[in-house]
Each structure stands twice: as C-alpha cells, then as structure tokens.
C-alpha cells in the first residue's frame, strides 16, 4: 500500500500582485514519478522552489497547502526547513556549473551537505560520497572528490549533483531541467542514469522539463502546465496517446518527429503568456483552434475522472467522440 508523499492543494504563488502559480494541485505517492511539462513562464520551476521553501525575495505563497509526509510546509520554521531540505526533498539543478561553488572542491561541498544531515565521522561521510559517486557511474571517485568544479565537464558535474542528492537518501527527488544545459549525447546518458537510479533507490521523482521526451522516459505520470496552471494530467500513456487538452495536442503535434522532407513543421500560433498573466477566461484560448465563446469568459475548471484531469470546456465533448490521432 503506497502512501501519499506529497500533496499540493490549490497552491497559488505570487510575486506581489501577479500570480505565478494559480490553484495548483497534484499528489505524489512514494516511489511514483511525475513529470511537469511546460514552456518558459508556465511556472514549473517555481513549483519546485515552492516545495523547497526557497522562493526568491518578493515571491511568496499566497494560498493553498503543501503537505509533505503529513506536515504542512507552510507552517515550517527555518529550522524545520533546514532539516527537510536535502533529506526529505532533494533537488538536482539545471546548470551544474553554476550549482557548485567554484572555490571549493566538489568533495568538500558534498561533505558539507552530507554533514548537515548525517551525524557520521569524516571517514564514513567520505565513504558515503564515494559510494554514491560510483552509483552515478563515476568510477574514479577519489579523484572526483578532490576536483574543483571547473575541472569537470558538464556531464560529470551533473552526475556529481545526482550523486550528492541521492547520498542524502531523500524520499523525493526533484529534477529541474536536468539535461537542458548539457550536450545532446550526454543528455541521453544522464537520462538513462536517472532512470536506473530511480528504480534502484526507489525514490519518488518529480521531473520538470519543457521536453516531452525527457518526461516520458523518466516518469509514469505527466502533468502539462500553462500559465501557472495544470491544464492536463494523467498517466503517461494516456496523455501522450490521447491528449485531451488542445494545448497538449498542439505541443505533441509540433514535435519534429517522423517528418518527411517537404512537410512543414506544425507550430502553435501566437506566443505563450508572460509569467503572471491573469486572464478572464482560459489562458490558452487566444491560441486555441477550437475555442468558442465560453472559453474567453471563464477559466475552465478541472474535470477529473479515473486519474485523468483536464481543464478545458471541451472535455465533455470529447467524451462523446473517440480520439484517433
């Protein structure tokens, strides 16, 4: 019986008056993997930072709940956050080169993080670090520990990040665009690694990306974000094969796969709204090929059935038809 690890309920995060996340809700159970897909400005990174309580200055949680293992994170004190960060929730960052302090060895930084959570001797901490480095397929772990960030390649540094996060034995791993800053060939390796390690250590994982491929490789569930809201969510196979929301369909259709020469790339007309835009109606309506009058008047509510969610006024229509594309 898997218990619920994380519940986010109607979370609204604002910067002053502008809402960056609106009415966000999702749950994650132990060992589950969820991918958040969206373009820039959709609010996906902000979601991750809210979970860690590290919102930038001026940005705060306006309403809603974040419940991790039964604790309401909104009520957490600084001391409680310090214990939770890393141990309960650990994050892997987008740009490995800037995630490390250039003046300290990678080993020292790993040690600082481990020492913050485990009351172990120096020797034990080092062994812990080396163990996880090896798990991340870095065989020369001793040398790596003594290296400075600038001496390691992007791919290697990302492996170190992963090793560091896992060495803290977190229950939930958050990967924020884990491969975006890496070379194409390395991206594949890192994704494979993440997949393998997630299965091995049975960590729950929240993957944030703008790339469907990344999310579909690593996650069993997918949630699509647009303008600070989740517009569609469900099991990976359902969302990818039978997208319900026009945005999801358009996103999937615009992927440059299986194209024959001469075919034009499908794009979504218009541009995504800037982060924090507030609309009267559905935020996607201006770009939607299937909009009708209601779409501009009210924000579509989420309709949920069978673990499938979609926020679109068209949903009832879809029930009546079979989607073949």
């Amino acid at each position: 019986m898997t218990q619920t690890l994380l519940t986010v309920e109607h979370l609204t995060v604002s910067a002053g008056q502008t809402p960056l996340l609106q009415n966000l809700s999702f749950t994650l159970k132990k060992k589950e993997t969820l991918g958040l897909v969206g373009e820039s400005g959709s609010g996906k990174s902000m979601t991750a930072w809210s979970l860690l309580g590290l919102l930038p200055p001026g940005v705060f949680v306006q309403s809603g709940k974040i419940i991790f293992k039964g604790d309401d994170l909104r009520r957490f004190s600084q001391a409680q956050w310090r214990v939770l960060r890393g141990k309960g929730l650990a994050m892997i960052f987008q740009n490995p080169q800037t995630a490390f302090n250039p003046l300290f060895t990678v080993g020292k930084q790993m040690d600082n993080a481990i020492a913050a959570h485990f009351d172990e001797t120096k020797k034990t901490r080092r062994e812990r670090a080396m163990f996880y480095l090896r798990q991340a397929e870095l065989s020369d772990s001793g040398r790596i520990l003594k290296s400075y960030p600038f001496q390691l390649s992007g791919g290697m540094l990302q492996r170190v990040s992963i090793a560091l996060a896992l060495s803290l034995e977190p229950e939930l791993l958050i990967a924020d665009e884990p491969t975006t800053a890496l070379d194409a060939t390395i991206q594949f390796q890192i994704l494979n690694l993440l997949q393998k390690l997630q299965k091995q250590f049975k960590t729950a994982m929240l993957v944030i990306s703008h790339h469907f491929g990344v999310v579909s490789k690593l996650c069993t569930q997918i949630a699509v974000m647009y303008n600070g809201r989740i517009v569609e969510a469900g099991l990976k196979s359902d969302v990818l094969n039978q997208p319900l929301h026009p945005y999801t369909r358009a996103l999937l259709a615009s992927r440059p796969v299986n194209l024959l020469s001469g075919q034009t790339l499908k794009t979504i007309p218009g541009t995504p709204p800037a982060a924090g835009t507030v609309t009267d109606g559905c935020a996607f309506a201006p770009r939607c090929s299937q909009r009708f009058e209601l779409c501009d008047k009210a924000v579509p509510p989420e309709l949920i059935s069978n673990n499938r969610r979609v926020a679109c006024f068209l949903k009832p229509k879809y029930d009546a038809e079979k989607i073949t594309d």
């Binding site: 890393g86 960052f93 800037t98 302090n101 003046l103 913050a116 400075y148 600038f150 803290l168």
Partner: protein, 336 residues
C-alpha cells in the same frame, strides 16, 4: 601554469623596482637644488667644491654615475644623506619600523572593522547599519586626511585631553628590541606602561588613516557579498539543507576574499601615501616625515632612498597579496 605565474610576477616586481630606481636617478639629477651646495654649506672655497664634487661622484660622466648607482644599489648601499652625513640606510631603517607599524596597524583595524560591517550591510539591506555604512564610506573618501587628523587632535587632545598630541612615545624605548615595532616589543618585554603609552600615541594617527580607507573596504565587501548571495551556488547550498551560518561564514566569506584581497593592495597603497600627510600632522618619526624633510633640504640620496623603499614595500605587499589570492582561487593555480 601555477609556478610559472609566480615567477613571472616576481620578475615583474623586480622590473618595477628597477624602473623606480631609474626614475629616481633621473629625477634626482633634474632637481633644481644643488647637492654640492647642500654638502659644503655656505661660502665654500673652489677647492672645497671640487673636492665635494669628486667625493660625491658628480665629476664622472652620467652613464658612469648610473652604473655606479645601480651597482651600489645591488649591494644595498643607498649612499650618504647630505643632511645628516650618515648612511641613508641607517636613517631609513630606524624610521621604517615606525611607518610600517602605523600603516599595518591601520590596515588591520580597517579590515577587522570594515569586513564584518560590509557583510552585515549586504545581509540586511535597508537596515540602519547599511545606510550608515554608505554614508560613512562616502564621507571617508572625501575627507582631507590632514584636516581629519587635526580635528582629532583638537578634540581628543585639546578638548578632552585623553590622548597625546603628537609623537610615537613619551616614555623611553623598550629595554629589548625584538621586532622594531613598538607595540610588539613593549608587549614582549612585559612593559605594560610603555605599551599603553605607545597605544595612546598610535591611536589618533591610525584612526585618521582608517577613516580615509574604511569606506573602500566596506563598499567592496558589501558589493561582493551582495553579488555572491545572488549566485546559484548559494541557493543550491540552502537547497541541500546546509546551515545558514555555514553558508554565510564559509561559502560567502571565501568568495568575497578575492575582491577583498585585490582591494587591500590598493588600500595599503593609500595608507602608504597617507603617511606623508599623517606623519606630518602627528610628528610621527617615520619614512613619510623623512621624505618630506629630505626634499625640503635637497637631500637627494635620502629622497631616492625613501622613494625606493616605498616602492619596494608596496610592490612586495602586492606580490604577497597575489600569492594569497592564488591560494584562495584554485582557478589560478591549476592549469584550467
């Protein structure tokens, strides 16, 4: 790359010292004052003048003078002071310690006061501390050092009579000299009355120097700290649950060391420059006073000697700072 860098810097420093010596040599020949006259005094006979000229070496062609000059320099011989008839080096040696003690003492205070205040100001923007710091640093760089010194004298010496007006000490010298630095020697000897006396005398001149340079340090630290705090790696450190205090005092501190070290060299230079003025105001028996005295009495060898010593000290300090800098920033040490 590492070692090569230091060797290169070392030779550059040597070159700078050579350049200073050359400049001093040239300038000294250009000085309108007549060194011969300074040596022989009033109403010299022709014979005395000729003898002086050959004694001082002014009868040789210029390039021979230059060669002699540099070869003597290599041996550490700075010539004889025209004013005191004694080797320049003696005079310099006696006064060097006084200036060095003053500037180093001021530097320490500036760093120990300035760095924490800069850090605090960066951590709490908008706090009264941050705004006071801004005001003080803007004021400090605009104040004429010599005027500030005199103001301090007026208040602490004239009105309150807490501190002595001038000089380095009122009590006799310490019994045993170890370092040449008055504060240290009196401490080592356990002569606490002399220590207190020395401290009282050094306080005002040092504070005058501190006031002028304090703002540079706080501003540098504050800017560097603010910039560092914005970096990704600070956020990730927090994300791993590392304690705030560790993040601040281990990570941020090391990251601001680099600009701090760079600026410290500059600040020490200002302090050295300030000694000309401050030593005058407080009658401090240091190199600055010697420099002024020598120039006013057309004592060329002494002027050259002092200029050289200043340049050497400044270059040396900068070199040491460079070494420390490389120790802090690994990117300089390893071949990247």
């Amino acid at each position: 790359m590492g070692v090569a860098y230091f060797i290169r810097r070392f030779f550059w420093s040597l070159f700078v010292i050579f350049a200073v010596a050359l400049v001093a040599f040239v300038l000294v020949r250009v000085l309108p004052g007549d060194p011969i006259a300074a040596w022989v005094g009033d109403h010299p006979t022709q014979e005395q003048i000729d003898r002086a000229r050959s004694e001082l070496g002014y009868d040789q062609p210029v390039y021979i003078q230059a060669v002699k000059y540099f070869s003597r320099l290599m041996r550490g011989d700075l010539g004889v002071s025209l004013r005191t008839r004694r080797p320049v080096w003696d005079e310099i040696r006696r006064r060097f310690a006084a200036t060095f003690e003053l500037t180093t003492f001021a530097m320490l205070i500036t760093l120990l006061l300035g760095a924490p205040i800069g850090l605090a100001a960066a951590n709490h923007p908008g706090h009264w501390l941050s705004r006071t710091e801004k005001a003080l640093s803007l004021t400090g760089v605009a104040i004429p050092i010599f005027w500030l010194g005199m103001l301090l004298q007026m208040y602490f010496s004239g009105s309150l009579n807490w501190l002595p007006l001038q000089g380095q000490r009122a009590l006799p010298k310490p019994d045993k000299i170890y370092s040449g630095l008055l504060l240290l020697d009196t401490l080592f000897n356990g002569e606490f009355d002399k220590f207190a006396d020395a401290l009282q005398h050094i306080l005002m001149p040092a504070l005058t120097l501190v006031a002028a340079t304090f703002g540079i340090i706080t501003r540098t630290v504050r800017n560097a700290a603010a910039q560092t705090l914005n970096q990704d790696y600070i956020r990730t450190a927090h994300a791993y649950g590392i304690r705030r205090r560790t993040v601040l005092y281990v990570y941020v501190l090391k990251n601001i060391l680099i600009p701090l070290i760079t600026v410290s060299g500059l600040v020490y230079g200002y302090l050295l420059g300030g000694t000309f003025l401050v030593e005058r105001v407080f009658d401090w028996p240091g190199l600055g006073q010697l420099a002024v005295l020598s120039i006013l009495t057309d004592d060329l060898p002494a002027v050259t000697g002092v200029a050289l010593v200043y340049a050497v000290v400044y270059t040396f300090i900068n070199y040491v700072l460079d070494v420390i800098y490389a120790g802090v920033d690994p990117r300089l040490r390893k071949s990247a």
